[in-house]
């Protein structure tokens, strides 16, 4: 199946979970990454059980914050 990751179309095996994709894409500091599928935010606790499907568009967003 084809999934668009951060704007780039890629081929993956069926049954791919968000957690597996985070791992395959070698996302750094994944604990601070928010994932969206087709503009919908995925709860971090749901990464293991969320299965991607053909045509999905996935974005990885790093938490950005700070303080004085």
């Amino acid at each position: 199946m084809k999934i668009t990751v951060a704007g780039v179309k890629k081929e993956f095996d069926d049954g791919l979970t968000v957690a597996k994709l985070v791992n395959l894409e070698k996302v750094e500091t994944p604990q601070y990454v928010t994932v969206t599928i087709n503009d919908e935010f995925v709860e971090s606790g749901a990464f293991e059980n969320t299965i991607l499907k053909d045509g999905d568009e996935v974005e990885f967003l790093y938490f950005m914050g700070g303080g004085r």
Binding site: Y32, E59, Y62, F63, G65, G66, G67, R68
Partner: protein, 138 residues
């Protein structure tokens, strides 16, 4: 080195003043030349979801929209910016702890002296922050 035009600097300054006493924040998108020099082409003014004068967090929905806009315009994310309403233009311990990308530019605008705002840009790796050359072009 990172370049920014005066108009973009003024947008950051204006938004930061407008959001006082809270910190303002946003993203910067642009291009990176072969020698690694960065050029800011677009500044994004985002909501500080912390609504605080001591902390900031970018609104994730606005962050997503900004990232997509950059891609549509052929730009790359260069880093982020935020204001320090009451402290100097240097990364705080929290800024350093929450800086995950050692290649990003972290811009900090100090309004500690409202009549003499100071904008600096930093590279942050671990607990080390290094000021990078920032050129504001007219």
């Amino acid at each position: 080195m990172i370049k920014m035009n005066r108009g973009d600097y003024e947008r950051i300054l204006s938004d930061s003043k407008k959001r006082l006493p809270n910190e303002a924040c946003g993203l910067i998108g642009g291009i990176i030349s072969e020698n690694g020099d960065k050029s800011v082409k677009k500044v994004y003014l985002l909501t500080n979801t912390d609504n605080s004068n001591e902390h900031f967090s970018l609104d994730p929905k606005e962050q997503l929209a900004a990232v997509k806009d950059m891609r549509a315009e052929g730009l790359v994310p260069l880093g982020n910016w935020h204001s320090h309403p009451e402290s100097p233009s240097r990364p705080s311990e929290e800024d350093k702890r929450l800086a995950y990308d050692k290649n990003a530019s972290y811009m900090i605008l100090s309004l500690m002296n409202i009549d003499e705002p100071v904008l600096n840009s930093f590279k942050i790796s671990g607990n080390t922050a290094e000021k990078e050359d920032l050129i504001i072009e007219n």
